[in-house]
Subunit: 336 residues, 2 copies
């Protein structure tokens, strides 16, 4: 058993800030990253919380990521915006782009944001939720590093390439999902390797394309898309949308740029926002969505995507969260 | 073995026209449907070729589908169009909407088309390909009938809900995929039931949520999403986009509307088109996409989505295609 220690969310925020400020972030960038880190911990989404601070710090220390980035926005077309991340981390650029994108979607009915020259090591759900909470229907896509084999192939080529989707709800926070194109998260496979557990045969293949349940063999080989070739198609799509189309790195290019250092991946993100009010049923769409969601929940054994995070969000502000002591010590070491 | 007969593509077209004209279609609607049917057969995509003509005829004979539909277009927002299908079949409305959508995407960078009041019994790839062949990056979504259980549930709620995606290529036809949110196509499960073959455990569950490999039990129960809960999320998303957002039927509502007759599903479709030229790398995006596709094909055992259809398309204009004699006889019976 790993030893865990308890933290309050304000301590999560303060520790994140201290790590980032001590390693080259200015206050604006540090605050945006610390806010997202705290949100993730508050939702008990540990894989995208404090666990990621060493990545942020690593990118700052290597000099690849700009801790003093000043993202800037331009209009590429009436319904297309671009945020240039100034080689910084995603959170500050996402804050900068959020209102212009929402305004553009409301004006035109649909709008796109091409986010380039940035490092994305967080989840997609924070930006999807922030826009969907304003009444918009949202897609987000981003590539990463080439861990996932194309259908029929055996070498990593696609990132785990998440796709996020958000839909506004009548009462309360929006419905949001954020799912990797790979069958398993890379972190889950790494944890299985650490703990000596097998993984499902669908998770990945060995270096010669062989079937395996050994996580170490998968890590030496390639992950597979969810549902086989269909997940691989989704991963390919994400490379085209958030790489080729917006002039940013494919996952294979991000790996070349990183030079195998294993630092945060540099690249792009594409966000599409639609204003459902402009799609022909302004007075009905919210109730109509609720009808579907109610029908889902009427079936025993179901829950909506994000339900676990929403439940965690209600209790963590009082109860706090738990962090592995080893991670806590690592982060303390970053603060001086 | 089923007895097959050979047909040339012009015979496919003529037979389709005859079936449709004899059952209440006017020439414009019949031609649009026959063109799509012939395209599907020419690509050896038999599940969406002549096999679907009995559905078209059934909807015409029951009086639900309007064979003389005159689809019309309106602007709902600067980047949002709506095609009202006038309760007809999708092909004529898709023809009507194609150029306005492409023009709107070029003008704004991104545009959406909400297609309502129509019956869609074809594949999504024809409309995706037609737009992507004009240089656009395209999404399409449509619900159907409630065959697929939500994650954790046991009753059909979502349609098999395909999502289509298209990307323009430098030379030759665009890259297109068109994949159901369900693990298997419903037709494949029906064929397994007919032929007495088992289906994978991932295909579906029995009426009480039990694991099964018996296709008849799946047909009495519910299909499952591809890759488990992730495919189910995609199916949910399609219901929200092409149902709730555009004011059209959810799959459960389409089934109610049909009254369990098993006719073609009435409903909507959402198409999103982006002009990559307006996303920041107008001179580079095509080569950049080709770099990814070349890297895929450099791996042994891979092929691109749609490759089988493209190969078929090259040979069927000369060789013709094969059709089950029983289907041929059925269709002949529709022509008088």
């Amino acid at each position: 058993m790993r030893k865990m220690i308890s933290m309050q969310l304000q301590e999560v925020h303060a520790l994140s800030m201290a790590c980032l400020l001590a390693n080259g972030c200015d206050p604006e960038n540090a605050q945006a990253i610390a806010d997202q880190t705290t949100k993730a911990e508050g939702d008990m989404c540990q894989t995208h919380g404090l666990f990621r601070i060493p990545w942020y710090v690593g990118g700052l220390r290597s000099g690849r990521a700009n801790g003093r980035a000043r993202p800037w926005i331009e209009h590429l077309a009436p319904a297309v915006l671009r945020v240039d991340g100034d080689n910084g981390y995603a959170p500050l650029g996402l804050l900068a782009g959020q209102k212009p994108l929402a305004d553009c979607a409301r004006k035109n009915g649909v709008a796109a944001l091409a986010f380039v020259k940035m490092f994305h090591v967080g989840a997609l759900w924070p930006e999807v939720e922030a826009l969907a909470a304003q009444g918009l229907c949202v897609f987000a896509f981003t590539p990463s590093y080439p861990f996932v084999a194309p259908a029929g192939g055996s070498k990593g080529l696609y990132g785990t390439n998440p796709m996020g989707f958000g839909w506004p709800r009548k009462d309360g926070p929006p419905l949001v999902f954020d799912q990797a194109s790979s069958a398993m998260a890379r972190g889950e496979i790494q944890i299985a390797a650490r703990d000596g557990h097998p993984v499902p045969e669908t998770a990945g293949i060995g270096p010669n394309g062989e079937t395996t349940t050994d996580p170490n063999v998968v890590l030496a080989g390639a992950q597979l898309g969810y549902g086989g070739h269909k997940g691989a198609s989704m991963a390919m799509m994400v490379e085209l949308l958030a790489g080729a189309m917006i002039g940013e790195f494919l996952s294979i290019e991000a790996a070349e740029d990183d030079g195998g250092e294993g630092g945060p991946p540099k690249g792009g993100e594409l966000i599409l926002a639609m204003d459902p009010v402009r799609f022909g049923d302004p007075d009905g769409f919210l109730d109509h969505g609720e009808k579907l969601l109610s029908a889902i929940l009427a079936q025993e054994g179901t829950r909506l995507p994000g339900a676990r995070r929403m439940a965690a969000r209600k209790v963590t502000p009082e109860r706090g969260i738990e962090v592995p002591e080893s991670l806590y010590q690592t982060l303390q070491g970053f603060t001086t």
